[in-house]
Amino acid sequence: MGKYVNLEKDVFSVFDSAAWKAESIKTFPGNFVAMNSGNEFLRVSIIPSGNGINITSISGIIIIDIFTSAGSGPHGSLVIADKLDSFLQGKTLSTTVGSSVQFHSSTMIPKGIEGSLHRASYTIPFNHFGV
């Protein structure tokens, strides 16, 4: 596989893990319309928009939109952000030989209320290394 699919596999392996599923936070990728998502869920988007150290590597950011109930204050989204940090921040993941992704330090931006939900964007830069 190419660098983009390898990157996707490495990142999605986090959300396919038993440890993440045990958190019971509904998680969906971008370009997927969630059904029965409830009032607390995540949407994961991979933005591989930067150069890598070679032609099989790439850098970029992962944006994870955190949706919580509108009007419930910031605490819920911050708790989820801390959980995401424990799975991503500073971690190096690899699911394919010759491919790995390294996450750096995360940031959070509250985006405001959308309908009955509040959206905050959790962002974490990454470097993907391929050989």
């Binding site: 996707e8 999605f12 392996s13 959300f15 396919d16 998680t27 969906f28 997927f32 319309v33 059904m35």
Partner: protein, 116 residues
């Protein structure tokens, strides 16, 4: 008989009285749609409903691609809730649903799309 039942019955009559203006199509509803992060695939369970629809309008656009769009009217009680994953088979051709559907509890109106 309550008002809702009377309206549904009259609606059924209206679709039948439309004769050849109304036609049978198959709504293929996708149930239990989920995403598997391990395989990066969407899984779904299809379920078909054949019912009559009426065309409200039709238009074609050419921008990045050529798309034909129809607005159709259907009986809400027979079809139920629609999602982006559902499709409509009309005359052997598969149409995709748009992201917005309107209904008043009795009549549903939705845009359907097909690439030319």
């Amino acid at each position: 008989m309550g008002y809702a039942s009377i309206i549904d019955n009259q609606l059924l009559l209206a679709f039948n009285m439309s004769k050849d203006l109304a036609r049978f199509v198959t709504f293929v509803k996708k149930l239990d749609v989920s995403f598997n992060f391990g395989t990066s695939t969407v899984s779904e369970t299809p379920s078909s409903i054949t019912t009559k629809i009426l065309d409200v309008k039709s238009e074609k656009t050419s921008r990045e691609n050529n798309i034909t769009k129809k607005t159709i009217m259907f009986k809400r009680k027979e079809v139920g809730d629609l999602t982006l994953y559902d499709t409509i088979i009309d005359g052997g051709l598969t149409w995709n649903l748009g992201s917005a559907a309107k209904d008043n509890g009795f009549i549903g109106i939705v845009d359907i799309y097909k690439e030319l």
